[in-house]
């Protein structure tokens, strides 16, 4: 506990060092609280222009419109617990909003209204909750009182943290593995704020951080997060990244400062974009996806070579294309397929990653780094090795005070100050409630952010159907479905794939709640089934059909 009190002066020291060139701190959280029709009050002069943009989607009902979404992450360091019980030091991203959502393994992305606090009233007006009404009686361990708690305000642990002192209190040592989960819908606008609270265990580094939206189409260099060709945010500063969401798919995100170091040390996260087809109202026929056209230098107008959703053709050139009608109970899809071929019941974002404990030790102890000799020895799925991968989140677990319980609700790690914080909130336990919930299809959003090698994932008992690759539906420019069945898939660092596990076959009818079936998703590269010296674990998880 005593170490905890060292934090604040230490953090102040970090802030002070930057204040030599800037005034105190420059945290600036931006989430324009403007409705999709442009009404409401803008938080800053530019927000309204963006919000006024038409969000109605051609070919879709007016109800299918995008929203403004917001999220905040902090750049920091922290500790994670490996499946062999060892703690490992990380550079990482922690949550700066959506703390309860993230600790339960859910995306931390929220609408502007939720991010700003439901009762938000613009600054200066009377009767409202202050901007960013984040308010919690206790720190993440559920035990240590948060001195900034205001008992006159409702408890809200999902709001964006605007207050600089709270950002430091909650952000320092809060690194998660993987980084906070981001999920948006096509046609949304995302205001993603990165606040750099420093890495308190490495006060010598003064590291900047960035966000690289990996795979984002038609990216601008400014929001691409590469420090060499853009800007990087220093300690005690914030940068708000702005993205539209033009194409559904499984992407991911990471810091792009000194990538071999910051990625290996843990600054990697998951990100996906849900298709607008999900928002099709019940019993409505989906508008057929179509390819945009592009103008060549010759002046010719041709099908866009990068078309992401070519329509499924009809039987002949003159018959109408295949269309999908949303049933009375709306379904979910990986892509705007137009024919329901990427439908799923339940989804699991799974990030393949590796940690080299030697490199992490060096990263904590100020030693020269060995890049060429980097060798992962912890093989992880979403930050955990087996059997931690199947340690489920207890939904709604609360402590005696009614706060989400960081000990049983998620996987936590005690940091150097003795305070336990959620460190690896995402289990990879794939549960398909076939008999109890009518579920037959699980979508695995696989991404690989290993910085050392390619990895293979295979299944036993349930075949994989690969429907997407690198955040794009597998479909040729003529509209033919190129999805394929396989028992293994090999993905390199910087790649992603969408895989559907289908248990609709009657062979799985015997899998019930009373007699569940357990299958495995694991790396057939058998040396990846280790937790360092412990030789059964690593890159493996279970598929539970019941």
């Amino acid at each position: 506990m005593s170490l905890r009190h060292l934090l604040t002066p230490f953090a102040a020291l970090l802030a002070l060092s930057v204040s030599l060139q800037a005034a105190a701190q420059s945290f600036l959280v931006q989430c324009p609280d403007v409705s999709s029709t442009g009404t409401g009050t803008a938080l800053h002069p530019y927000a309204k222009a963006a919000a006024l943009a038409t969000r109605n989607v051609p070919g879709y009902p007016a109800a299918v419109a995008g929203n403004i979404k917001c999220q905040q992450v902090v750049g920091t360091d922290g500790y994670a617990t490996m499946a062999d019980g060892n703690q490992i030091y990380m550079f990482g991203f922690g949550p700066g909003s959506g703390l309860d959502l993230l600790s339960l393994g859910l995306p931390g992305t929220q609408t502007a209204a939720d991010f700003n606090g439901a009762a938000y009233v613009p600054a200066g007006a009377a009767g409202g909750v202050p901007q960013g009404s984040f308010n919690s009686p206790y720190f993440a361990d559920g035990l240590t009182p948060d001195p900034s708690y205001n008992k006159n305000l409702p408890t809200n642990r999902n709001a964006g943290i605007y207050d600089p002192s709270q950002l430091m209190n909650w952000g320092v040592l809060s690194a998660n593995q993987p980084a906070p989960l981001i999920a948006i819908d096509e046609d949304d606008e995302l205001f993603l704020t990165l606040s750099n609270v420093g890495m308190i265990m490495r006060p010598d580094l003064f590291e900047q951080h960035t966000i690289h939206f990996h795979g984002y189409p038609n990216a601008s260099s400014y929001f691409d997060g590469v420090p060499d060709d853009s800007v990087a945010i220093a300690i005690a500063g914030s940068m708000t990244y702005y993205y539209t969401a033009p194409d559904a798919g499984t992407y991911f995100w990471h810091c792009h400062i000194t990538p071999p170091e910051h990625l290996q040390m843990g600054m990697v996260g998951q990100l996906y974009v849900r298709p607008r087809q999900n928002r099709t109202p019940a019993s409505t026929t989906v508008a057929n996806p179509s390819c945009a056209t592009m103008t060549l230098s010759s002046g010719a107008v041709v099908q866009d070579i990068l078309c992401s959703a070519p329509p499924v053709p009809g039987a002949t050139a003159t018959t109408a294309p295949v269309l999908y009608t949303q049933p009375a109970v709306p379904q979910k899809f990986a892509y705007n397929d137009g024919d329901g071929s990427t439908r799923y019941d339940v989804e699991y974002p799974i990030q393949m990653m590796g940690f080299d404990p030697n490199f992490h030790y060096v990263g904590m102890t100020f030693n020269p780094e060995d890049f060429a000799g980097m060798k992962d020895k912890y093989y992880l799925l979403s930050g955990r090795g087996y059997p931690d991968t199947v340690a489920d989140v207890t939904p709604g677990a609360v402590d005696a005070s009614g706060n989400p319980d960081a000990q049983t609700g998620t996987q936590s790690t005690a940091a150097s100050d003795g305070l336990a914080r959620p460190s690896q909130p995402l289990p990879s336990h794939i549960v398909i409630n076939r008999s109890t919930g009518g579920q037959t299809r699980a979508l695995l959003r696989l991404s690989n952010l290993s910085v050392t090698e390619l990895s293979t994932l295979g299944t036993i008992g349930v075949p994989m159907t690969v429907v997407g690759w690198n955040a794009r539906m597998l479909r040729d420019l003529a509209g033919n479905n190129l999805a394929y069945n396989t028992n293994s898939i090999t993905i390199g660092g910087g790649e992603s794939a969408d895989v559907i596990l289908d248990v609709s076959d009657s062979a799985y009818a015997a899998c019930t709640a009373a007699a569940p079936c357990t299958f495995f998703l694991y790396s057939p590269q058998l040396d990846h089934l280790v937790n360092d010296a412990e030789n059964f674990g690593g890159m493996m998880t279970e598929i539970l059909v019941q």
Partner: protein, 570 residues
């Protein structure tokens, strides 16, 4: 204290490395590349029957850490005087530097579809290296001369000082267009790591056409530095610009061990030597290269005198809206996930095999090699943002970028006048509304400002010196985003670090360059104010050179403003 000091030293090392790179780059701002190569010997070659006289020889590769890595490579035999395309090495580079007797990668052999290709290989490697050979995967090769080897006929080392060496000859027909690898088929585990590999490019026989907005077929344009108008005999393979990226790695200790064996043998006058061998497993490479160079050398010009055995660079440039053909080859033993920032790319072919849809209700009209026009099924290759660069495999992809859909004007048009862009209509310019918008964006049928707009944009044209003679400064802009301000308040400049490829504003192009918050002395690598994107291996440990970051497999794509001339010869 020692450990802290070491860490600081380590960091300074990285900084020094970058600082060292800057003068080199500054000396050649505007270094571009295209796909330079040779089409055959000046004498004895025809387009239908090109001949190449190659030699395998030892020399050294320059690395940005200062080392000169002993290596083996293919090169042009002395006196063979090959013809260069798409441009000749500058005269200042000295005689024969364009194709030295040893280079890594080996000379890029550029031939026409249907040509009968003859390659002769002479072995000038040290005697301990033993025999060597060339494999041409994807072609039916006839080998003659030399001695029989496991995979093909091999050339034996020339005796020291011998004027005449028995060469081995390989002949094949370039049956189909595409990108192909060639590499040693002798003791390949060692010889390919040592540098014995290269590329063959087969150009298609027929130029393709596509319909314009009125339905009239118009032929694909051949870019000023393109080898052809289209990559294959298919209308969906037209491109404006092309780059070849060969990805491979080397083990410094292995090369040193081989050099020691060569020296020891020479000291014994070649008597009693044992064949060269090294520890090839476990494999611990520490140099990671694109086209034979580590970053930042790869972003320097091609055919430069300071890299006498590494003539090719990796330095892609483009204008918004152009289609870029990326020819990618995995030449190493391990895979290097090639992640290109900026956009996806469409795969059109693998190992020179065009990937087409199995069935198509609306095929496009294409021209076969023989000139026959017929319906062709559309392209079927996947979209990638990362290419796995599988060992020995070639992948041809098409990349493009227009900033479409960002919901803000990347050219910063209105922001040049006032920060909020007040007073300027957002979105596509209404016809005849130029008076209220100094940089109008009239949308064509695809939503962009092009020659198909009404009134049309002017396609940028340049004179022989590269000066702009005519052209719309925002040619290719996506008009729906025109004049929209950037939707966030940028961070306080005092709490950001800026990179050397950053132009100083969030905007693309010279019209956004004033006012520029960067100090006049700030070393800006992109003099045109273009956007830079990192193209690199996503096994991030490979963007290092002998353990120093930054380095290795990293380069920058520069998207230059439409009216900036891209001179690929410099």
């Amino acid at each position: 204290m020692t450990t802290v000091f070491q860490a600081i030293q380590s960091r300074h090392r990285a900084v020094r490395s970058l600082a060292m790179a800057v003068p080199l780059l500054l000396g050649s701002v505007g270094a571009w590349s295209a796909v330079p190569g040779i089409t055959g010997n000046a004498t004895g070659s025809t387009a239908a029957a090109p001949t190449f006289a190659l030699v395998a020889a030892p020399s050294r590769l320059t690395q940005p850490d200062g080392s000169a890595l002993y290596s083996w490579g293919y090169g042009c035999a002395s006196g063979s005087s090959p013809t260069f395309v798409p441009f000749a090495p500058g005269a200042s580079n000295g005689a024969n530097l364009g194709c030295p007797t040893m280079q890594v990668p080996g000379p890029t052999l550029i031939v026409k579809e249907g040509a009968t290709v003859t390659v002769t290989l002479t072995n000038n490697l040290p005697s301990v290296a033993g025999n060597t050979s060339i494999l041409f995967p994807g072609f039916a090769v006839t080998a003659s001369g030399g001695v029989a080897g496991t995979n093909t006929n091999e050339a034996v080392p020339c005796a020291a000082g011998s004027a005449t060496c028995a060469a081995v000859t390989y002949t094949f027909t370039a049956t189909k267009p595409g990108t192909y690898a060639y590499y040693s088929g002798t003791q390949s585990d060692l010889q390919i790591d040592m540098g014995l590999f290269g590329a063959v490019i087969v150009l298609p026989a027929a130029t393709q056409s596509n319909p314009n907005a009125a339905g009239t077929p118009v032929p694909c344009k051949t870019g000023p530095y393109s080898l052809a108008a289209n990559a294959y005999d298919h209308p969906q393979t037209c491109y404006d610009r092309e780059y070849l990226f060969q990805w491979h790695e080397m083990s410094g200790p292995l090369h040193s061990a081989i050099e020691s064996q060569v020296s020891a043998c020479a000291a014994k006058n070649g008597v009693g030597c044992t064949p060269a061998s090294g520890v090839v497993e476990p494999y611990r490479p520490n140099y990671f290269m694109i086209n034979g160079r580590s970053m930042p050398d790869d972003m320097d010009g091609s055919y430069l005198a300071q890299y006498p055995n590494q003539p090719y660079n990796g330095n892609p440039h483009m204008h918004p809206g152009e289609v870029v053909l990326m020819r990618t080859i995995g030449q190493g033993r391990i895979q290097h996930p090639f992640h290109f920032h900026g956009n996806h790319a469409r795969t059109i072919a693998r190992d020179g095999n065009l990937l087409l849809a199995a069935t198509d209700n609306a095929p496009v009209s294409g021209t076969l090699a023989g000139g026959v026009i017929q319906p062709m099924n559309r392209v079927a290759g996947p979209l990638y943002y990362t290419i796995a660069t599988t060992s020995g495999q070639t992948l041809d992809t098409l990349f493009t970028w227009t900033a479409k859909g960002l919901n803000w004007d990347v050219y910063g048009h209105a922001q040049n006048v006032n920060a909020a862009g007040a007073g300027f209509p957002q979105g596509p310019t209404a016809t005849g509304n130029a008076a209220v918008d100094p940089f109008p964006c009239y949308a064509d049928i695809t939503g962009h400002y092009t020659v198909d707009s009404t009134p049309p944009a002017v396609f940028p044209a340049f004179d022989a010196s590269g000066n702009l003679t005519a052209g719309s400064p925002n040619y290719g802009e996506y008009c729906a985003d025109h004049n929209k301000p950037i939707p966030v308040t940028p961070p306080d400049p005092a709490v950001v670090a800026t990179g050397q490829w950053y132009s100083g504003t969030p905007y693309l192009g010279i019209q956004a360059a004033t006012p520029n918050p960067l100090a006049p002395t700030f070393a800006k690598q992109v003099s045109t104010g273009g956007y830079a994107y990192m193209w690199h291996s996503h096994d991030e440990r490979e963007i290092t050179t002998n353990n120093v970051f930054p380095g290795g497999m990293m380069m920058m794509l520069i998207i230059d403003p439409p009216t900036a001339f891209i001179d690929e010869t410099q």
